[in-house]
Structures are given as C-alpha cells and as structure tokens.
C-alpha cells in the first residue's frame, strides 16, 4: 500500500559537498554514480572554487554560506571535505541543522571535540560517519575477508605500511601545518590506525610512536610515522605512514598479519604489476572498485536504516582520533601513551 511519504523516502538523498578541493572530486564522482543520492549543491568559503565546482557538476547551486545550504529542504546530508581544523564547527552546524554527515577523516582533531560531535548527532538522531576510506578499498576488504573467514585464526600481530610519493603532492599545503591538519598522525595516520584496529577486531590500549621530519628539517609535521598499537586482547600492530621515503615514485602498500593459525601477507611487490620504462620502475595498480562509491553506499545504508549495523560507527571515528592524538603525544614524550589517558578515562 503506497503512502505519500514513500515517494519522499525513495527520492535520492540530497547531498551538498562542503569544501570543493582535491578530495571533493572523488565524492562528487561517487554521487554521480549513485542512484540513491544526488549532488544538491556546493559550499566553499572560496566563491571562485564553489562556482567552478558547481559549473563542472552541471550547474548545481553553490554558496559560500553553509547555513544557507543546510536550510534548504532538498538537502538531507553533507559530505564535508574541508581542512581538518574546520571539521568540528562544521559538524556541529550540520548536526544542529538536523542533517546527516559524511565527514572526511579525521572526524575532528581533538578527542573532546570528536566526542562532542558524536554526541551532537546522537542527540539529533542523525548519522555521522568518518570517511576512513581505506576500509572500503578492495585490498583492505580482501585482508578483512580472509581474517573474518578464519584464515589465520585469531590475529595477533599486524604490520601495515603505506609509503609513497602520492601521499601529498604540494609540500606547502595546509596538510603540513599542524595547526590546520592536527599533525600527520591525525591527517594520515588515522587511516592505518583505523584499518588495523578493524582487522584485529580488538580495542587499542597503548600507543608507542616515533616520528621523523625526514625530508627537510623545516617540516613542522613528521613525514614518516611509525605507530605501535597494543590491544586489550594481547595483539600488536606496527603501522608506518610515510611521505619521507625516497624516491618519491616509491609506492608501497605492505600488509602482514600473523595469527594463531597462520600468516597472511600482501607483499609490497605483489599487489600490482611492475612497469619498467625509460624513466624508471613503477607500480601499475590493479583495477579496483571505487572505494569512495562503496563508502557512499555504506553511508546511505546508515542513513536509510540508522538501527542497522554500520560499516563505520561514530565510536570508530572517535577512536581513530584518539589513536591519532595518542600518536602525536607519544612522539612528543618519547614514551608510550595509553588510550585511557587521551580518552580522559571514559571509553567510548
């Protein structure tokens, strides 16, 4: 029996993109490919960038005023792609407007603000999801599928390295300003910290991290990060995130998981094809599903049925921030830092 609201419920979700920069294009492409959502507009503090992105998207409305966009009845959700330091105020504004939010990682750059954002969406009864996109990539899912299928028994040790020149092209970008990005642990470290925690299915308890300004003494962030995480169930993870490796054409994704029943590896040289050309050797990535589209689907699933089990919970987003904060603190102190301390004694 059709009700009026059924038509309403099944129209594609209206989504505005906030922050029309590099990563916004990937979200825009995912929206274009989705039958369940549509791009309803663009918001950017820079009018030129907002209008250019709106034109490129076929002439959707644009504005520099977030409140105006959130006030529209045909806008149900926002995908926020702005610099990390702006995440907290924007998220709180989206929550107050009663809209859903897919927030680019990190959720925010401090633990109290991450909790405040999670609480605000809980109170509003809307969905907030942090875009830890790696969870939605084929390689990460292949590893997860294998672990879920019992391939290694109970995983007890994971190594995960992402090393590459692709990690940022512009060495002057806001990413390299810790005041804007929160530091490299919060900017990119969270990708790995979230992923290994998902793979290991355990709660992190202690972080011991080492950071290096490898490329230049002038850097204010660590272009090389090594993060050791200890888990409540006795497992350990060692994650490396690096833009400090040379040459910058280096492209490594290396996974090792040892479990009670076996060892799983995604060898650095084994996940793509090697191309040797006159200008050097490079890696040809295998064709893969669009992680941003898979991620968008997971977000739309959560919006459609907030009670269903989520691919990425609010607690996951908060935990990743806590791990990033613990990493930065551990490097500063040269000592291990407990999650309890950064969560201020209250576990999510």
């Amino acid at each position: 029996m059709a009700r009026h609201s059924v038509i309403d419920d099944t129209r594609p979700l209206g989504v505005v993109i906030v922050g029309a920069g590099f990563i916004a294009d990937h979200h825009g492409a995912a929206l274009r490919a989705s039958a369940r959502a549509r791009l309803a507009g663009i918001v950017d503090v820079d009018a030129g960038r907002a209008s250019a992105a709106a034109t490129a998207a076929g002439g959707v409305p644009w504005t520099t005023d977030l409140a105006e966009a959130l006030g529209r009845a045909d806008v149900d959700a926002a995908i926020v792609c702005t610099p990390n330091v702006t995440h907290e105020p924007i998220a709180l504004q989206v929550a107050a407007a009663g809209k859903h939010l897919l927030m680019e990682k990190p959720l925010t750059i401090t633990v109290p603000s991450a909790r405040a954002v999670a609480d605000a969406f809980d109170a509003a009864g809307t969905v907030v999801m942090a875009a830890h996109t790696h969870r939605f990539y084929d390689y990460a899912r292949a590893v997860n599928d294998a672990i879920a299928g019992g391939a290694v028994g109970r995983p007890v040790f994971a190594r995960f390295a992402l090393l590459g020149g692709w990690i940022w092209p512009d060495w002057r970008a806001w990413v390299l300003d810790p005041a804007k990005s929160g530091g490299h642990a919060l900017h990119n470290g969270v990708h790995l910290l979230d992923l290994v925690t998902w793979w290991l299915r355990d709660e992190p308890t202690v972080v011991y991290a080492r950071g290096r300004a490898q490329t230049a003494a002038e850097l204010r962030i660590y272009d090389y990060l090594e993060m050791h995480v200890e888990y409540a169930g006795g497992a350990d993870a060692v994650c490396e995130m690096s833009r400090g490796h040379r040459p910058s054409t280096l492209d490594r994704r290396d996974v090792l998981v040892a479990g009670t029943d076996g060892v799983l590896q995604l060898p650095a040289e084994g996940w793509g094809s090697t191309v040797v050309t006159e200008s050097g050797t490079s890696l040809l990535h295998p064709q893969a599903a669009n992680g941003f589209a898979v991620q968008l689907d997971a977000f739309l699933d959560a919006v459609a049925d907030p009670a269903a089990e989520r691919a990425m919970t609010q607690a996951d987003g908060v935990r990743a921030v806590a791990l990033g904060v613990a990493t930065e603190l551990s490097i500063e102190r040269g000592e291990p830092v407990t999650l309890d301390e950064v969560m201020q004694g209250v576990l999510a």
């Binding site: 040790f157 011991y208 050791h228 350990d236 490796h245 090792l256 040892a258 060892v263 590896q265």
Partner: protein
C-alpha cells in the same frame, strides 16, 4: 684462504632447552665438511686443539669460553654467548686481553641476500640509512623454553647492527606468547633507537607449524632499509627455487634459521650461512685478526636483549648507557 688446518675441539652438546644441540646439528657437520678444519679428540691442554666450538649449557658458556681463551685457544661460541650482558662482557674482556678470536655464531649476517645488502648500504646505494624494519618469524619446531627473545632475537639484531653499523641507544619492547603452551615468550617486538637517530623495528618469534613452511623454517625473513636516497628490500627467503608440488607444501628451497636446508628438499646451491661463518673463523684465526662479528658485538646484543626484558616488564623505553663497555 690459507691452507692451514686448524684442530677443533667440540665442547658441549647443549643449548637453550633439552632439544637444542647445535653442536651435533650444525657445527659438527659444518666443520667436517669445511676445508681447513679437523675435529680432534682432546682437551684444552692439547696443543693439537686450535679452536674450541662451545655448545655447553648457556649458563656455563661464558666460563667455558673464558677458560678456552685463557688456555690460548680460539673460540666459536653458539648463540647466545652468555645469558646476560655482564657475563658476555667478561668473555669479551678476556678475548681482548688474550688476542684470541672469539666468534659468536651470528651466522645470519652471512646470508647471501644480507651479505650483498651490507655491501650495498656501505656503497651508499640508499644514501644515509635512517630506518630498518625487520621480520624474523619461524614456523614450528620446538619452542625455546628460554623464550624466543633469548633464542632467535640475536639473529635479526645482529643483522640490523651489521647492516647499519650503528649501536643502539634506546629500547622499547613487547613480549607476548601466542603459540607456545609452555608460557615463554614466542613473539618479541623490538623498537630500537640507534646512534645518528636511526630507528629500527624487529618482529621475531616462532609461530605454530605451518604447512607451507618446513618445520622450524623461516616463514617470513626480511629487512627493509630506508635511506636518504633510496630503499633496499631484502627478502631473505630468497634466493630460492619456488616449487609447486602434489603435496600440501609449496615451500621454497632456502635454508632454515640454523643455515641448513630442512626436510627432503634441497637448499640453495652453495655454502650455507654456517659454512660462511666457518670461513670467517678460519680467516680471522689465520690472519691473527679479531673476527666479525666479535665478542664485543655479542655483548652489545646481550645489552639490547637485557634492556628489552626490562622494557617489556615496565612498559617503558630503556636507555642504554653511553659507550657502555
């Protein structure tokens, strides 16, 4: 190589735990096969004995090495040279006094992939090294009752020190038990800060037996050396011929942690890491020079192992004394 033949006394047939006897399983066959050595029946007073191959119980090993050195003999000592850094230091001091060779059996540094890598690093191929990541995971075999930090960690530690040439200043460690019912640690994670600010991380342990790895063979053995100008990936499960066979095992034909091939399948062609260790022993003795690795290297490794134990117990990093010993 000089064609001098050295008389070898095999002293002790013990190891870490009741099942470990490297004298019979490794050194005796290697000495028998190696030109320039002859195993002799004798004692420390016997002038026919030039070299003593020591595999007495680990807690008596330092005293045995000291006695042999003081009797004017050269020493090949199974690893670990001693159970504590303090005991290892006593041996190193006597070796220095007597001028005799005291070679700790850190033979993995003679692995063909690793030996080549040491040359490449020394040749500046990766520029200034700033990080090493290492994994040394053995599958199956008898777990060491002393734990794998005491048993296996010596090997990757020695390789990292040989690759970088930089001493360790700070140690943070985790010791856990996942596979061994006996309770001794079977996975050690070592986070080391070296001179020059170089950092290294080593995972070393013994998992359960795996169908695709020969019993007590290395499931994962690798090192990544990152430098200012490049990256060197060393996969020490190579060189190997890769086999696919009717039975469940598709393991490759490189050698186990003791340097020998395991099971029915052949190893890589050419001398094993233990054969190369004996090359070094012979060369050092006949040239009258200290061996590399030396007893001092074993002391530093024992210091790192001691610090790792302290760190794992306290959950805090431990600083090594500047210029200790």
């Amino acid at each position: 190589m000089s064609d001098t033949t050295l008389g070898v006394l095999l002293l002790g047939f013990a190891g870490l735990g009741p099942d470990q006897d490297h004298q019979r399983s490794m050194y005796e066959p290697a000495f028998e096969a190696h030109p320039g050595f002859e195993i002799v029946d004798g004692d420390l007073d016997d002038p026919a004995v030039d070299v003593v191959s020591i595999c007495v119980e680990p807690d008596r090993r330092a005293d045995a090495a000291i006695a042999a050195l003081q009797a004017g003999k050269h020493v090949l000592a199974d690893k670990p040279l001693a159970l504590t850094a303090a005991d290892a230091a006593k041996v190193a001091a006597v070796a220095a006094e007597t001028g005799k060779v005291c070679l700790p059996a850190h033979h993995q540094r003679f692995h063909p992939m690793i030996a080549a890598a040491r040359g490449a690093v020394a040749g500046g191929k990766v520029g200034l090294p700033w990080n090493v990541q290492a994994d040394f995971l053995v599958a199956g075999g008898t777990p060491s009752p002393a734990g794998e930090l005491a048993n296996f960690a010596v090997y990757p530690l020695d390789v990292v020190l040989a690759l970088t040439g930089l001493r360790v200043r700070r140690v943070y460690a985790r010791l856990t038990t996942h596979w061994n019912d006996g309770g001794a640690d079977d996975l050690a994670l070592l986070f080391l800060t070296h001179e020059n600010g170089l950092t290294s991380t080593i995972s070393v342990g013994r998992t359960r037996e795996l169908a695709d790895t020969r019993p007590a063979g290395l499931a994962v053995h690798r090192y990544r050396v990152s430098g200012s100008h490049g990256v060197l990936d060393i996969d020490a499960s190579r060189p190997a011929v890769v086999l696919r066979r009717g039975e469940a095992s598709s393991y490759t034909t490189s050698s186990g942690p003791d340097g020998r091939p395991r099971g029915r399948l052949p190893g890589w062609h050419g001398p094993s890491t233990v054969d190369r260790l004996l090359d070094e022993l012979h060369a050092a003795v006949t040239a009258g020079r200290p061996s590399s690795p030396s007893a001092a290297d074993a002391v530093h490794i024992a210091e790192i192992v001691d610090a790792a134990r302290t760190s794992a117990a306290s959950g805090q990093p431990v600083d090594l004394q500047e210029g200790s010993r």
